[in-house]
Amino acid sequence: MDSVDSIGTETIGRIVARLRGLPGALLPVLHAIQAELGFVPPAAVPLIAEGLNLSRADVHGVISFYHYFRDAPPGRHTIRLCRAEACQAMNQRALEAHAKERLGIDFHQTTANGTFSLEPVYCLGNCACSPAMMVDHELYGRVTRDRFDEIVVAWEDR
């Protein structure tokens, strides 16, 4: 992905213009872009840099520092599977293996049909209902392997 289409360019320009006055505007700008486009296209970097009076290296450095920002389009839905300790205490490792097998992908990958991306996450604040995961902005607790399959089926149609 090296070019942004005209819609993307327009979106990025609009977001930068709207938020550039904020103190420390870069993270809010990146969040807004990712919320609209699903990712931060590499071609956005010079546009952001120019708009916020930063160097391209600065902008790139920030994007690459944070796990949440991505530079390639995600699947239609993103599954974030918790890998942290409380979930490990409740069979997270088996769930992780099952999830990868069910989806046929590893972490940081997207299913061939473009429906799901799978990302690791380190605690979702649902540690009393482990293991936990999130699909887009919806949280799930006590995710057994069967429940994982049900959730995936439900989201396939959304």
Partner: protein
């Protein structure tokens, strides 16, 4: 007939177990039966094993039912639950549940009780009493109260809050800032989340008092992006607070000004470390700053800044309202007041337990937690997040107390208690601690950045059985280097979980 109020939590943990579907089923069934009900979306009472926990306001008080699934709803109506009728899921009044009524709910007094985003409900439950008092006090007097309360930071470092505020108050500047640390990155913790979702106004009130006390006019909540539900609740509450004159240019008609903004993190654990958080708020990579200077002297955008955890700030209103002595009377030794303990992992009754310092780990695990979820013996607990030590059974009688924990090389941290049953392989937990450090290191210092990766390798060598003893020594040396050569707690404290696992569970490191 007047309408019956039914409470169904909007807390993320409850939603993760189907609370939304339950709320819809109740509304639908009530309509079908032509019953006049009003569904209020409250916070959680913190008893997660009973979620979704539905409460009904009856003539005899609030009666709870749980855990309720959407499929249970017709049966509940048939059992006349709107009048507290008998049913297999009937819990009774929450205030009669031992888990709940043996707690000391100060910071969490309203969580689960009120409608979190309804300011009138907040006001009807002692809301804004602290700020009202604070507006009649001098800045120095507010700081004095906080100092005398004995409150120490609940984010992990346990630094006296009053002392920090005093430094900011005493540092002259044209602009001062207040930054609330809502990054809550520690695994096993969720108190900040529950508070923000269940009573966001108390955080806003606490921040407003803090701002008055130190002379800050701009405040930020640095919220982790993994908390969309808390984000929504905060946004709603902040908008209402502005509308009703509790934020903005003229707070409660006093002429005092305080503006509050929410900023999102982006999935970096290190951004919970306060100087890294400030860098992030400035729009930069979250690299840890060397200190001095302290953030209290030179913080956000180079200005004096108070950085406090959500729970620290949300505890301020009750301290100012009821006085320092009231709060200080809870607790033991130098650990005053209450800790909002979070019970998680392999535990039967997980959830939030707000309790005066001094309660033992054993009481938390068994009296409150009811033992493991699996029914097998609890073998280890990790307390204080991913940088906290693992405690074996022989240490379960340790009281929650900052000094008692320090004495056994452990951390209280943000109060997360994660239980593991006997199936746990502690060598894997030690390995994971190193892996996590490598993944989340900000990269600034070598012992953390390289040492953690080396740590994973060395543990793998130990487990492969080749020259195990030599590699155990190497691991100890490596931990020593990390402890003394790291700029911040990520590299500096990762040895806690690693060495405690090795010390208390050496048999797990010998593979046959």
């Amino acid at each position: 007939m007047s309408s019956t109020t039914v409470f169904v939590p909007r807390d993320a943990a409850a939603l993760s177990l189907g609370a939304e579907q339950v709320a819809q089923a109740i509304a639908g069934e009530a309509t079908a039966r032509r019953l006049d009900t009003r569904v209020v979306r409250n916070g959680t009472r913190g008893m997660c094993w009973l979620e979704p926990l539905v409460e009904v306001q009856t003539a005899a008080g609030r009666i709870a039912y749980g855990p309720v699934a959407a499929a249970d709803v017709p049966g509940l109506f048939a059992a006349d639950f709107l009048n507290g009728g008998g049913h297999a899921l009937r819990v009774g009044p929450v205030e009669a549940v031992p888990y709940f009524n043996t707690q000391d709910r100060l910071t969490f007094a309203r969580v689960g009780v009120t409608d979190p985003v309804n300011i009138d409900d907040y006001l009807a439950h002692d809301g804004y009493k602290g700020l009202t008092r604070a507006l009649g006090m001098s800045a120095a007097a507010i700081v004095q109260q906080v100092t005398e309360s004995g409150l120490r930071g609940r984010g992990g470092a346990a630094f006296p809050t009053g002392l920090k505020w005093q430094t900011v108050l005493d540092t002259p500047a044209d602009q001062k800032y207040l930054a609330c640390n809502a990054d809550e990155g520690d695994s096993g913790t969720f108190a900040d989340r529950m508070l923000m979702e269940g009573d966001p106004f108390v955080l806003i009130e606490g921040m407003t008092i803090a701002a008055l006390a130190v002379g800050a006019t701009e405040g930020y909540v640095y919220l982790r992006v993994e908390y969309p539900h808390a984000h929504r609740a905060l946004d709603e509450a902040i908008a209402t607070a502005y509308e009703r004159g509790y934020l903005g240019a003229d707070i409660m008609g006093s002429g005092a000004r305080f503006n509050l903004h929410v900023r999102l993190g982006a999935g970096a654990y290190i951004c919970g470390e306060e100087t890294s958080m400030l860098e992030s708020l400035e729009g930069k990579r979250g690299e840890v700053r060397p200190r001095p200077p302290l953030p209290a002297v030179k913080g956000l955008f180079g200005m004096p800044t108070v950085v406090n955890n959500v729970i620290s700030l949300a505890t301020i209103p009750i301290i100012i309202d009821k006085g320092a002595a009231f709060y200080r009377d809870y607790g033991v030794g130098k650990s005053r007041g209450t800790l909002t303990v979070q019970l998680g992992g392999n535990i039967k009754r997980g959830g939030l337990v707000e309790k005066a310092f001094g309660v033992t780990v054993r009481d938390l695990l068994y009296e409150f937690g009811g033992g493991s979820a699996s029914g097998r013996p609890i073998r280890a607990v990790q307390i204080g997040g991913p940088l906290g030590a693992y405690l074996p059974e022989s240490q379960f009688d340790t009281p929650l107390d900052y000094e008692a924990f320090a004495a056994i090389d452990a951390l209280v941290g943000h109060g997360g208690v994660v239980a593991f049953d006997e199936t746990v392989d502690m060598s894997q937990m030690a390995r994971y601690a190193m892996e996590f450090c490598a993944l989340e290191s900000c990269g600034k210092c070598t012992p953390c950045r390289i040492g953690s990766t080396r740590g994973v390798e060395v543990i793998d060598r130990i487990l492969s059985g080749t020259e195990s003893r030599l590699h155990v020594e190497l691991l100890a040396e490596l931990c020593d280097t990390m402890t003394y050569g790291s700029l911040c707690g990520l590299g500096g404290l990762t040895p806690y979980p690693v060495l405690s696992a090795l010390k208390h569970f050496p048999q797990d490191f010998v593979k046959v």
